[in-house]
Symmetry: C2
Subunit: 209 residues, 2 copies
């Protein structure tokens, strides 16, 4: 299967980027720089009409939305052991956590990064930017409790771990005090040790991707 | 398997509510009235620390987040034919659409229903309430295009259809002009013909649930 990941440096597409590195299959990275507005160009809108990253192009068509992409990669590469794909309840826990990240934690950040998406005006933007770090901290607290004494979110390493890693990386940009989340900090350090994480970060930080 | 669905009348928990009626398995409805603040009571927070509905209690534990619950029900009851569970790409399309609903369309509504979740103050609330119907209409347009000439979102009926039905039901509360979305309107009418939809709506509209 030929896979192409459309990603932007530092965006939430880092999660499937890391996962593709973990799997070690052949795939092609395609940089869609949000900073340059590349996600709004007609050639990308033809791939993802929503104008967002990530998008995963497969032999059968394009998949969008992180939780869907991550579950698909786990199912397509069961030998990579990145989700309990043969256990519906275990898989539901992975999908549930990923759904929480995409529908609660990610939007909380978006209110600081792109307040104009949710309401016009400087006063509204100020209110959202002031609320965002509080909401982010509340959601991170839920993740901290979920992690508990485990190394990884679901006990064993799964696709939820690189997805969580995206947001622990964003939190300092909102001046969220990460020392309040020692378990998430250790999780982040464990992630940084993984060769797949190093490889994905190196590609995203390079000039050309 | 004993299943319990924690739902609130009119909330997005209507999606798994309909799906459980479609499956026709034995299950127990548990009403958690958001209007009465029941989702913040300690006994419910013990079930779902996020204080949201829906939550699905199974023999193995609780599942939260609509896309995860819907995929789990489809996988657990393959004979109900409510998602292409044996086709990873087809399932990814279902998960992708459900992910879009939960992370884009649902939050767009939440800015009108609960602006204080995203920023304090009357000025910010006004800005969000004014932006919300525009964002909702943009997302509904994507759903209208995705539906295209099909009866159901993915061609065959899947769990994405009752989930979409939740939001076409909410749109009039934001004064979104649904005549701009004739395909979604027909979709809504088709849904209303289904006995499972009638049964779920009747339960939610009854006094006691």
């Amino acid at each position: 299967m030929t896979l192409k990941l459309f990603y932007s440096p530092g965006a939430c597409s880092l999660a499937p980027h890391i996962v593709l590195e973990e799997i070690g299959t052949e795939w092609e990275p395609v940089r869609i720089s949000l900073k340059e507005g590349a996600q709004r160009r007609p050639e990308y809108l033809a791939i993802n009409p929503k104008g967002r990253v990530p998008a995963l192009a497969t032999d059968q068509g394009v998949i969008t939305e992180n939780p869907a992409i991550l579950a698909f990669l786990a199912q397509t590469f069961p030998q990579a052991n990145i989700a309990p794909v043969s256990d519906p309840f275990g898989m539901a826990q992975v999908n549930s956590f990923n759904g929480f990240l995409s529908s609660s934690l990610h939007p909380a950040f978006a209110h600081a990064f792109r307040p104009e998406r949710f309401g016009e005006g400087e006063e509204a933007a100020r209110a959202m930017r002031s609320r965002a770090p509080v909401a982010v901290a509340e959601y991170l607290q839920l993740a901290e409790e979920k992690l508990g004494g485990n190394e990884w979110i679901h006990g064993d390493y799964t696709v939820s771990d690189p997805y969580l890693f995206v947001f622990t990386g964003w939190a300092p940009r909102l001046s969220v005090d990460m020392t309040a989340f020692p378990k998430l900090q250790s999780h982040r350090e464990r992630m940084m040790q993984r060769p797949a994480v190093k490889a994905a970060l190196a590609r995203e930080e390079s000039a050309t991707g």
